[in-house]
């Protein structure tokens, strides 16, 4: 059997259609001072030729697959330790108490700050280079008669329970053709320069949200205690020198967004074989089929199956060729 690269592209294109494949998740991470959660909903877009067959060595390249973020919101929550000014004793009183200066506390709420950063405008890219491998899955005994007993018993049990087959997991061995990724790249930020500015803007918005309503004197007092307010918030959020790297770490490491994308692709291309052929291969089912009543005094005829001795796979620039060898009866 041979399958063309164009045919595989048609199948993969249908598989990646937004109605079938969406990347949806709400990952979150919490530190000492701040927590961040994400609301993610994305679909995949690609050109006409997404899958590229290569034959030296035999590899499949999935190239220029774009992640389009329909929603990519990062919600930050910042809890700043309470800062209080005033309240000190001006004059001792007659009875051991004192006359105190007015007291004013800042950052009493929990959290003190909630801000959303919209990253939905980003375009992210994925590329995968994978080997095409043939493997053999053993889900049942290799003893043919015992395997038939197991299948018979399992199907009879299903029938007794009023259910129909197939047995899940299937009691079959199979030749599987699977993709094993050699490289799996997810590039979340295709415009890193802008990301730095975005974080600076976030910090300014944060400061404004925290102290924008305070009178000038109070801001002066706070800056007297905490230094630059932007610097203060930057420290609270643990933003280092490179703002873009900070955001990249949150998205890429703390929230593991690339891992979420890879998991979706894994489900289709890695966790499951792209082609499977049962061994032995059934050519005639039980007669009558298990679950159907057998005529009185007549036996149920066993299924006829043929062994698949070998499965070879060969990749060319234009097609993948699978050759199955049917074993001779021995």
């Amino acid at each position: 059997m041979a399958v063309s690269e164009a045919g595989v592209n048609d199948v993969v294109a249908a598989l990646l259609d937004p109605s079938v494949t969406r990347i949806q998740a709400q990952p979150s991470t919490a530190g000492d001072a701040f927590s961040v959660s994400a609301d993610i909903d994305a679909h995949l877009e690609h050109g006409d030729r997404l899958i590229d067959f290569r034959n030296s060595p035999d590899q499949v390249k999935l190239d220029e697959l774009d992640v389009v973020w329909d929603t990519f919101d990062l919600d930050f929550e910042l809890d700043i330790p309470e800062i209080c000014i005033g309240g000190f004793c001006i004059t001792p009183g007659w009875f051991g108490d004192c006359v105190r200066a007015p007291r004013k506390c800042f950052f009493e709420a929990d959290p003190d700050l909630s801000l959303t950063l919209n990253l939905g405008w980003l375009r992210s890219e994925i590329s995968v280079l994978a080997d095409l491998l043939v493997g053999y899955t053993n889900n049942r005994t290799t003893d043919y008669v015992q395997a038939q007993v197991d299948e018979h018993d399992a199907l009879e049990a299903l029938a007794a329970a009023g259910e129909s087959g197939p047995v899940d997991p299937p009691l079959v061995n199979s030749w599987d053709v699977s993709l094993l990724p050699d490289t799996f790249d997810v590039d979340i930020f295709d415009v890193a320069d802008i990301v730095g500015d975005l974080v600076e803007d976030l910090l300014e918005r944060a400061v404004d949200a925290l102290v924008g309503f305070l009178p000038e004197w109070a801001i002066d007092v706070l800056e007297g205690i905490a230094g630059s307010l932007v610097g203060f918030v930057r420290d609270a959020l643990d933003v280092g020198d490179d703002a873009a790297e900070w955001l990249s770490d949150i998205v890429g490491v703390s929230l593991d967004v690339p891992g979420i994308i890879i998991e979706v692709l894994d489900e289709y291309f890695i966790d499951y074989p792209v082609f499977r052929i049962e061994d032995p291969f059934p050519v005639l089912d039980w007669s009558p089929p298990l679950g159907d009543p057998a005529p009185s005094n007549e036996p149920r005829l066993i299924p006829a199956t043929v062994p698949i001795e070998a499965l070879d796979v060969d990749l060319t620039e234009t097609e993948v060729v699978l050759t199955a060898t049917i074993g001779a009866y021995q």
Partner: protein, 330 residues
């Protein structure tokens, strides 16, 4: 030139692979290839040195079949107790009102597909195939004493019917209980079957017929259909050595054709058709997982005039896939 120059998917079954499928089928469904009367069935189990099923009554004698029946061990496993032969009624003797029959066996011992003309004298038309079969048959010819016994039994029966008022012979010969009382139909014993084997060649055509089936996520609107166009004896050496009247040869060919066409061929063709169909269905876990459906189309064109095509010892199919999404991520 790539296999898939003219389609998304290309599939080919080599005649050697089909022959192996048939051999497995012969071993696992021997009753599909071996037919005989009750005594012959009992004789088959005795020849194979295996205990017969309860339904086989060996008390009326045993006659070994023409050829020992090869079978897979699981056929006679006590859990399934599958038959080695299909039991048939005795061959009625003309002129006895069906009251006397003869033991017989008919066995298809070898069967193989040939996608290329076997000789110059047999030029194939487009898309024809040949199936070479060896058919062995034998009749149990009774001795004089057994014939006399059978004659005596039917005379007693006829005399009884004559004596009974209002009982017609036609009615009596259909009364199973009455027949059983007289031990009818009588099957005079023979010492052995008198067997002969003939090589026959079946010439047929493979075509696609509208027969929509659904194999997992795939809809296959058409299925391959193997049909018989002609059948002829090819044991030319034998017929030359012992010339037979042409009418006899033609009658024999006619009977074998009817036997193969109605008895053996439907199940055999179903097996091969199903193998082709399952190969077309390409058990594709990715399609299933993605909730995709696909319709298989077998296009024809100037470059692919026949689909399926019989070429170079192979049955070839050229398939286009029309993939559709049903919506809903896994």
């Amino acid at each position: 030139m790539a296999y898939t120059d003219h389609s998304d998917v290309y599939g080919a079954l080599h005649e050697e692979g089909i022959d192996r499928v048939i051999t497995h089928l012969q071993r696992k469904r021997p009753s599909l290839f071996n037919y005989g009367t009750a005594r012959v069935v009992a004789g088959a189990y005795a020849a194979a040195e295996v205990p017969p099923p309860e339904s086989v009554d060996g008390r009326r004698g045993r006659l070994p079949p023409c050829e020992v029946i090869p079978y897979a061990p699981e056929v006679r496993d006590r859990r399934w107790n599958n038959p080695l032969m299909t039991e048939e009624d005795p061959l009625p003797v003309v002129g006895t009102d069906g009251l006397v029959g003869m033991d017989y066996a008919v066995q298809v011992t070898d069967l193989g597909i040939d996608f290329a003309p076997p000789g110059e004298e047999l030029a194939f038309k487009d898309q024809q195939y040949a199936a070479n079969a060896s058919v062995c048959a034998g009749l149990g010819c009774p001795g004089d004493a057994d014939l006399d016994g059978a004659l005596e039994t039917i005379e007693q029966f006829r005399s009884y019917v004559d004596r009974r008022e209002g009982l017609e012979l036609a009615t009596a010969t259909n009364d199973r209980e009455l027949l059983a009382e007289f031990g009818l139909p009588a099957v005079p014993r023979a010492d052995a079957l008198r067997c002969f084997c003939l090589d026959v060649e079946v010439v047929g055509t493979v075509s696609m017929v509208d027969r929509p089936t659904v194999e997992g996520p795939l809809t296959i609107p058409q299925s391959p259909k193997f049909e018989i166009d002609d059948i002829r004896l090819t044991d030319l050496e034998t017929t030359n050595e012992f010339p037979l009247p042409a009418g006899f040869v033609h009658s024999l060919e006619c009977y074998i054709e009817v036997f193969l066409r109605l008895g053996v061929f439907p199940s055999l063709a179903e097996t091969v058709e199903r193998t082709v169909q399952q190969a077309l269905a390409m058990q594709n876990p990715v399609l299933t997982l993605g909730g995709l459906t696909a319709t298989v189309e077998l296009p024809t064109s100037g470059t692919v005039p026949y689909n399926p095509a019989i070429e170079e010892d192979e049955l070839r199919v050229y398939v286009d896939l029309d993939v559709a999404t049903t919506g809903g991520a896994p």
